[in-house]
Symmetry: C2
Subunit: 202 residues, 2 copies
DNA sequence: GGCAAATTTTGCATATCGCGCAAAAATAGC
DNA sequence: GCTATTTTTGCGCGATATGCAAAATTTGCC
């Protein structure tokens, strides 16, 4: 249970991640080997696989869990669900430190690299699962109710779109882009005049 | 552009797919090799990679494009957008032939196998892209409008949930499950009484 | 039918991945 | 400082996946 060992381990993992990202961005993911990453990180090839199951896992930052405090705030919130959820997400993204240029390059790479896409999806899926849980708590419904899951899925989809938009052309902070995309969900399919679709502007 | 060669090619691809799925379901994905698949399909190992970029690609059926006729019907439709879109999807899923047990096993496998998940996601992403295009046409808006993309993303998310639910416990046809999940999107975040969330049943 | 061109299949060599195992090294508790 | 536990490492190995060129097959054409 040594916290020292845990910290050391985390430090090494970060070193490996840094080495992997630098190499991937400079030389291209196809032109680097796990051996090169290990060498740059100052560990043996075999040790690399003690930290990551496969090469691409070292390329994306580890998923960060939602803050417990903010989760409780959401579960007990009294505003419209979507707004309260947006608050939770904004607080979360605000505390993540993301390099936009780097993230753009990595997301672009993930489009053609199966294992990198896997890692990316795992990250989003974890968000989705967490959201499903907290939404179910907020609504006080059990696992048989399909709404939390569907809500979490659509919100996760909106987050994806928001992140993608921010990475591509966003000017401000990532949390602003996510916020506007997520809250746009409310009226997405509410057409003013059935027959001649005139949707509200995003 | 010999159509005979194309048909032969498709036939061989299907043979390989069949061999791969049978082996994966009977022996487990981890216990089979590309060589075993190739042998069962009656081709050389090297030829396998002429048909599929990697082993797992042979496990899922090739994505089917939306029917042109139904797409035009949707683009020119006059009902509520979500209903017309649901019609398009129902027509599409109706014509796909899916073995529920097999699909369940493969989706379960994809949760832990990066490359299989990649193939699955590619399939869903293609749906999402196609939907984005047809929704933009329907709304007569250009690529700068963010709504088609967000709509497509949320509908794709709903399809995922619908398919997942059908695979897990669905009794009827897959298109019915998809239909009810997608149409549930309309009122998902429309709360009757802000403050005390009382959402409509799915 | 038979020949030449184009395409597909195949064998072989090769680089890398990723895991199992056990020895060596580092670290923790006492 | 000694021993137990954990981590790192070296080595071997099977499997994946690619490039290249020869062999086989198919196609168009006469």
């Amino acid at each position: 249970m040594s916290t020292l060992r845990a910290r050391r381990r985390k430090r090494t993992a970060d070193t490996i991640r840094k080495a992997a990202v630098e190499l991937a961005l400079s030389d291209g993911l196809d032109n680097i080997t796990t051996e090169m990453i290990a060498e740059r990180a100052g560990i043996s090839l075999r040790s690399f696989f003690n930290y990551f199951a496969f090469k691409e896992e070292a390329l994306l930052p580890p998923p960060v869990a939602l803050s417990d405090e903010k989760v409780e705030q959401f579960v007990n919130g009294s505003g419209p669900l979507l707004d309260d959820l947006a608050d939770l997400l904004v607080a979360h993204f605000r505390q993540t430190e993301i390099n936009r240029t780097q993230l753009r390059a990595l997301l672009e790479l993930s489009r053609t690299h199966p294992k990198l896409m896997f890692v990316k999806d795992q990250t989003f899926c974890r968000y989705e699962d967490q959201m499903g849980v907290v939404i179910a708590r907020r609504l006080s419904v059990g696992p048989e109710d399909p709404r939390p899951r569907l809500m979490a899925a659509t919100v996760a989809a909106a987050i994806r779109v928001g992140v993608s938009r921010w990475v591509a052309e966003g000017q401000g902070q990532i949390e602003d882009e996510v916020l506007s995309t997520v809250t746009a969900l409310r009226d997405l399919f509410q057409e003013r005049t059935p027959g001649t679709p005139r949707l509200r502007r995003l």
